[in-house]
């Protein structure tokens, strides 16, 4: 019997990445030496492509955002990527936007992004409900996340997907299933800079957001697993291993 290690991060949001979180994660990866690295989506922010983006948003362009996302892929080197709702904007607009010029160019960038994933040998899935990825040993389902409630997001995702690890809500949360079969679900903190995500400045839910990521171990024979949060609380990065 042997255990394999995995590391999960999500919501880096392109050029809105939190530099301190990025450094903590990369240093943790260097020391922990995970067998699997998972990025749970929202690799990019793509705010100029948001429905209702202001002229100011659009004027900002997407090059810096896109390049920062690719740079983070090259640093973190994930084996698995589950695209998020922000990433999905280029796929969605590329498929069904009424502006033909924008649609065509988004479709082309989406296609080239798939080439970039392939070049880096990343197994990825689009942001589609019901789609998820798993490690070869089994264990939790990995996905970006779909439910946005701040009240027990891990429990809500568990109700729909069973044992899973997801991002999307930026709020660390754990739900241990009260079920004969056991199970557990976890919502991850984010790698994107909470202070820079101004779109949520008026939502009380933002107060539950934390910088953070998740690491875990999986039994390569049985698929049983456990995982833990690393969270920045105040000025400290707290993990079950101690202060990082």
């Amino acid at each position: 019997m042997a255990f394999k290690k995995f590391l999960y991060c999500a919501d880096s949001h392109g050029d809105l990445i939190h530099d301190e979180s990025r450094k903590k994660l990369l240093k943790f990866a260097e020391d922990f030496k995970p067998h699997y690295r998972i990025h749970g989506g929202d690799l990019w922010d793509f705010s100029p492509l948001r429905g209702g983006a202001s002229p100011e948003d659009r004027a900002g362009g997407i090059s810096e955002d896109y390049n920062a996302g690719i740079k983070f892929l090259d640093e973190y080197k994930p084996n698995i990527l589950t695209l998020g709702n922000h990433d999905d904007r280029i796929w969605q607009i590329g498929r069904d936007n009424s502006n033909g010029v924008l649609r065509e160019h988004c479709a082309e960038l989406a296609k080239q992004s798939e080439v970039e994933f392939k070049k880096r040998k990343i197994t990825w899935i689009p942001y589609v409900i019901g789609k998820y990825l798993r490690l070869p040993e089994g264990g939790p389902k990995f996905m970006h996340g779909f439910r946005s409630s701040m009240v027990s997001p891990a429990k809500l995702h568990h109700a729909d997907w069973g044992s899973c690890i997801h991002g999307h809500v930026h709020k660390p949360d754990t739900y241990v299933a009260t079920h004969a079969d056991g199970g557990m679900s976890m919502s991850s903190g984010c790698i994107g800079d909470i202070e820079k995500m101004h779109y949520a400045d008026r939502y009380s839910s933002k107060m539950g957001w934390r910088q953070g990521f998740i690491y875990g171990m999986i039994n390569d024979k049985t698929g049983s697993w456990h995982a833990w949060h690393v969270i920045k609380e105040g000025g400290d990065w707290i993990s079950p291993m101690g202060i990082l």
Partner: protein, 78 residues
């Protein structure tokens, strides 16, 4: 490091986004909500149908617009 095709796709999309910038709202433009508030119609549904009729008669021009992330129509005199 991105490949050359990705670089090209990225700069083309930047151009397309710049082209798709919607002109700002003008002083003489109004929404259905504002039309209703100023007494243009007794209810939301009658304001909508009244504005629709005026657009089809050629009295008003309309265009889609987003206010605080919500999409709506802006109207102005033709």
């Amino acid at each position: 490091m991105k490949n050359a095709k990705t670089e090209k796709a990225l700069s083309s999309l930047e151009w397309a986004i710049a082209q798709s910038v919607v002109p700002p709202r003008q002083e003489d433009e109004f929404t259905c909500e504002e039309f209703l508030r100023l007494g243009g119609a007794p209810s939301r549904s009658s304001a909508e149908s009244k504005l629709k009729r005026m657009v089809s008669n050629g009295d008003l021009l309309k265009r889609p617009f987003c206010i605080n992330g919500n999409c709506c129509m802006l109207y102005r005199k033709a």
